[in-house]
């Protein structure tokens, strides 16, 4: 009976397991193997840690690595700061039609591809773009202003792209907080700030953490936004991976970079969970 049930479960799971193995496990194992290969001549390879050594010995790679992580964390923080009031408004204050409209507004940018969205920002921010023209028209500046090709533009793009992924989990958790609990917070002497700190934020913590994880991963793994909006100074880690794979034909180093990115993101997410005292099950479940 027992073994039969187990067999049944196994059979039921097998398509999923096959899927996971084929699409997630095997590519990663393959990538790990590639990253451990060193090219020693035309078409000749040997197993070594040389690629990882290259990564750690080249300050440029480390710098890009750290910069990408720091910028992604900043983008996550900014997204959270903007998304929280928006989500609170949608979940707790807006009613009926306004609410669906607001939610829709968050969703609309995702009806077009990321490329189009990024082009949209380029049209707005470029020297001959909308904002620059508007500033000149309003006589706020003497000449055209270039708002593109800097870190702030990257930040704007990242936050914009990530917004929805923060708003959705936040709205869901905030919705599950009964109004009367918030009212009780006020009734028992709390002011806006203390109710937010002691009641709303602790309650929304799983949503905050899962939103942050998703946004952080999206930012870290983003390629288009930093390269297009950042211009000559973008310097994003995924760009390095892309150029190793595609431009340099150096799959070995690219794979090592990819693995470092995987380790970095896992470490930061793990640290984030530890720091907030959340567990992955609680956050994702």
């Amino acid at each position: 009976m027992r073994t039969q049930a187990k067999l049944g479960l196994f059979l039921l799971l097998s398509p999923l397991l096959l899927w996971l193995t084929l699409l997630i496990l095997i590519p990663h194992v393959d990538m790990l193997l590639v990253s451990l290969r060193e090219r020693i001549g035309v078409g000749q390879y040997q197993t070594s840690l040389a690629n990882y050594f290259t990564f750690f010995s080249e300050p440029l790679y480390l710098r890009t690595f750290v910069r990408t992580a720091v910028m992604s964390i900043m983008a996550t923080a900014i997204t959270l700061l903007i998304a929280f009031p928006v989500s609170y408004y949608i979940a707790k204050m807006a009613r009926g039609r306004v609410r669906s409209a607001l939610f829709l507004l968050c969703l609309v940018p995702f009806w077009v591809s990321e490329l189009v969205r990024t082009f949209g920002w380029m049209i707005l921010l470029r020297e001959t773009g909308v904002i620059s023209k508007l500033l000149q028209y309003l006589n706020l500046t003497d000449g055209p202003v270039e708002l593109l090709y800097n870190d702030a533009a990257i930040m704007v793009g990242l936050v914009y792209t990530s917004m929805l992924f923060m708003v959705v989990p936040l709205v869901t958790t905030l919705e599950s907080l009964p109004d009367e609990v918030i009212e009780a917070g006020y009734d028992l002497g709390g002011n806006g700030l203390s109710v937010l700190r002691e009641i709303v934020i602790p309650h929304a913590m799983p949503g905050i953490v899962s939103g942050c994880i998703v946004v952080f991963m999206l930012s870290l793994g983003n390629y288009l936004t930093p390269t297009m909006l950042g211009g000559k100074d973008s310097l994003w880690f995924t760009e390095l991976i892309y150029s190793q794979f595609i431009v340099r034909f150096n799959w070995e180093l690219g794979a090592a970079f990819g693995f470092m990115l995987l380790i970095l993101s896992s470490t930061i997410v793990w640290g984030m969970l530890k720091l907030t005292g959340q567990s992955l099950e609680k956050t994702m479940g």
């Binding site: 084929l22 699409l23 997630i24 095997i26 590519p27 393959d30 990538m31 590639v34 035309v42 078409g43 440029l60 790679y61 710098r63 890009t64 470029r126 020297e127 001959t128 270039e146 593109l148 090709y149 793994g221 390269t227 297009m228 211009g231 000559k232 100074d233 973008s234 310097l235 390095l240 991976i241 892309y242 150029s243 190793q244 794979f245 595609i246 431009v247 340099r248 034909f249 150096n250 799959w251 690219g254 794979a255 990819g258 990115l261 995987l262």
Partner: protein
């Protein structure tokens, strides 16, 4: 990360497909550049031969990366530049030799065919025949940036903040020539090549504040030039000629140190399944009338003998304006890139990108 995953996925898919269905010779999967397989040509080819054509647009690096991911599968005909054939073939073995007996050599400009054959020979086998050729040099707004005559002029103070170039190997090569160096001569000697590249790196780092942005794609460059945000850029000749049609001040300028000449070829991927269709396509598009149609779409001339007679007059005029006889003689044709040079160039490009 993503790329490996997708590469492995596509490899798997192809493995399944190949394993289960018998090879059918009537679908030609063509991996090429934008403009090299215009719809009218494809339609005509399909009508004449009964084959169908699936076109995938790409660029040199991605073509090689795609073929490398599948070990030379997934496509039946590809069109990398002639300098990017020998190296990858030696390293990854992603192509198969071309059977010249199946190609109508009479349709080719002989000198170009011979040069390409020489450049794409690995281990005594020939891997490529020429198709489209062109140059890269400078696209300049001649009114606003009259001083830009060579690559290094992009670093002049009067065009500060108003120039652009690609952060790719043609820029490194172009700057090297403009600085009086000869990178092609140093191709065979890694140390010498590194020395050349170190000088170029220093120049590019110095020049960086002058640059508005490094352009990534042709459309981006067109936008920058059209809007006047930049007045000079390193670019392909066709880009300059296209803009010239709308904005007479902007045109392609062959740099004083010489434009860089490239030839895009036909190669057969190692695991291609429709060689007959591939040969049919090559012979078809090399006919002068068809080649002229491709010139019309791509903006560049082909290695087809006699196609000039069918080419657009306006294009010929622009071509002649950009290339006086001495400029034509001064074109630096890319020799095959030895395997391993990309790593040196890659380091330079990364450091330039990271420089403040």
């Amino acid at each position: 990360m993503k790329h490996v995953a997708s590469a492995v996925c596509s490899a798997l898919t192809i493995a399944f497909v190949c394993g289960t269905t018998p090879a059918s010779a009537d679908t030609l999967r063509l991996l090429t550049w934008g403009g090299y397989a215009p719809e009218n040509v494809v339609a005509k080819f399909e009508a004449e031969t009964g084959h169908t054509v699936e076109v995938t647009k790409s660029n040199n690096e991605e073509m090689i990366a795609k073929l490398r991911a599948t070990g030379g599968g997934g496509f039946d005909l590809a069109q990398p530049s002639q300098d990017r054939i020998a190296g990858p073939q030696a390293e990854f073995g992603i192509y198969k030799p071309i059977d010249l007996s199946k190609i109508d050599s009479a349709q080719f400009i002989t000198s170009m065919l011979e040069a390409t054959k020489a450049n794409t020979t690995v281990g005594g086998e020939i891997y490529g025949v020429p198709h489209v050729w062109g140059t890269s040099g400078l696209v300049v707004d001649t009114k606003k940036a009259p001083s830009v005559k060579d690559y290094t002029d992009l670093c002049n103070a009067e065009v500060a903040g108003k120039v652009s170039y690609r952060l790719k190997r043609p820029t490194l090569i172009g700057f090297a020539f403009a600085m009086g160096l000869d990178p092609f001569a140093a191709y065979g000697d890694e140390a010498a090549y590194k020395a050349v590249m170190d000088k170029v790196e220093a120049k590019l780092v110095d020049c960086k504040p002058n640059v508005k942005t490094y352009w990534g794609g042709g459309d981006e460059l067109m936008g920058l030039l059209r809007s006047g945000e930049i007045v000079a850029s390193m670019a392909w000749d066709t880009g300059g000629w296209k803009l010239n049609a709308d904005m007479p001040d902007i045109t392609f300028v062959a740099p004083a140190s010489g434009a860089l000449g490239w030839v895009d070829t036909f190669v057969l991927p190692a695991k291609g399944r429709a060689d007959d269709a591939a040969y049919a396509w090559i012979n078809f598009v090399m006919q002068p009338e068809i080649a002229a149609m491709i010139t019309e779409a791509a903006g560049n001339f082909t290695a087809s003998k006699g196609a000039d007679a069918f080419a657009d007059e306006a294009l010929k005029v622009r071509y002649q304006a950009s290339f006086p006889a001495e400029a034509l003689d001064n074109i630096k044709w890319y020799p095959p890139v030895p395997a391993g040079l990309e790593a040196i160039e890659g380091g330079v490009l990364d450091r330039v990108k990271a420089a403040k």
